[in-house]
Symmetry: C2
Subunit: 337 residues, 2 copies
Amino acid sequence: MSTLNKQFKLTARPVGNAKRSDFEYLETTIPTATDGEVLVKTLYISLDPAMRGWMNEGKSYIKPVALGEVMRAGTLGEVIASHTPKFKVGQHVVGNWGVQGYAVIGAGNGIDTLYAVDAKLAPLPKYMSLLGMPGMTGYFGLLDVGLPKAGETVVVSGAAGAVGQVVGQVAKIKGCRVVGIAGGRDKCDFVVNELGFDACVDYKSGDLRASLKEAAPKGVDVYFDNVGGDILDVVLGQIRMKARIVICGAISQYNNTTPVKGPANYLSLLVNRARMEGIVVFDWAPRYGEAMREMGGWLATGKLKGREDIVEGIETFPETLNKLFTGENFGKLLIKA
Amino acid sequence: MSTLNKQFKLTARPVGNAKRSDFEYLETTIPTATDGEVLVKTLYISLDPAMRGWMNEGKSYIKPVALGEVMRAGTLGEVIASHTPKFKVGQHVVGNWGVQGYAVIGAGNGIDTLYAVDAKLAPLPKYMSLLGMPGMTGYFGLLDVGLPKAGETVVVSGAAGAVGQVVGQVAKIKGCRVVGIAGGRDKCDFVVNELGFDACVDYKSGDLRASLKEAAPKGVDVYFDNVGGDILDVVLGQIRMKARIVICGAISQYNNTTPVKGPANYLSLLVNRARMEGIVVFDWAPRYGEAMREMGGWLATGKLKGREDIVEGIETFPETLNKLFTGENFGKLLIKA
């Protein structure tokens, strides 16, 4: 066991990509838990596109990370000391204690949102992907807002990403034709051959408009958008009547130093009496259990698969995070502490 | 009675504003009705922003006006000859026979969509405004898609326009706080003092962002958008959680020779779990009667008012149409034939 607590604190508001110089890297002594608290040792840190937004000042769906604060992140770890009957030493727990190797968690900083997971039911990284926030996002966003019906065409961007994998597979389970949009042949092959999507369009090669038309010849009923930008516009140009567009994210725009590119084709919503709606996964928190049970079942029977991209070492954090924005990651991106 | 039929035929696809040179103006002989047909004399022609879109080639919610065809428009007239039991000479009828002084209407060109109206129940121009397409658009778009609840804040752009007048007054009847956005002090005064809106922001003077914040201090629950462009972006920046944005039109963009300006603030939909949805009034055709009855009642009891801007002479058509896009019209724009 390392005798030091590796931490990244946010020290500057990034302009464009987050850089190593926007953080302070510290190695401090491991803190001590007292009454009502647990000490957890980090095993995995979740890296998500939303983290870039949390670094910005200003109103959003969650308050920004304060300067000087440990960078916020979803985490999975092991309880190594406990002074509360809620958790036992040796238990695995999921929480949000951020980019650090150890944390003391009590009443003031999230013990209420900490929950135990069982390594015997699923490999631990699955609790940060299919059975974690990305899984919840894809499951509820698709089913509750996308409202896919059997036989409809569902398109998802960031198809090989943590959320995209779930969206596509759940849509297949619901009887839809599923078309992924991803960057590069490898990712496209993966979602078709491994995850069972019907088709996948590589936005990095050829004419996206023409390729999408070929892959979704009847047009798009549901579009689950993780990327924004030009891809959103191309899909808007190919929606069907009464289409539903789920705005989950816009990874192409998060590092902009210029204004966000709004969808020039938004009047396609009018022509097609279509709807565009934004989602934030936290709204379904009271129903996470329902999704965990259903997706856990699909995982156990092999109906639902997933791929994680696991990088070793907390000290790699700034560079590893940026893999999300360059598209270098392949699957749900995690740091193994 | 004029012995000639004044007509405007579309002869070119306009670039930017529609110009007189995009049309051919004809004075032809008045046609003759035969079996199953009626001859109508035009009394009023409805001028609507959507007409600009109908002049463009390409897929939309309705097929474009063909080159060489009489320009499509909503119309109200008097039956002056009838060879069908469906209509009697002297009856007033509403239809879509376009920018011309007379038309013969039969099975092939719209007799099924012609309907009689009663000049004793409401002044004829009301059948092209409150009780016509603009009224139906405002009524169903607001109530069925905007879903306003008493106490919520409803904002409508183009507030003094044909649709905006209805949206604001219906929202008031439903117990909402109503804020208009209009161009110029006169229009703002009108919607507040005559129509009973709670406030109105003049987008041509001062800082729209600051003025809207003052007029809608709790934020915007429902936004009914007739204009698009920068105004849509400003409102998106001030929506509340679970806001509904009704996309009815985008008059600021219809004469663009550059690409449409997409709403750069669309990620506000995500932050606020809000929805943006497009509408086309024809979808409610089976329910027009329901709205006519309810709005007719409000009109009769003075709960619903409206203002028309009536210009004399079919021959003024191209210039009169452009008043919509410069904002020179004040109220529902009609030509009196």
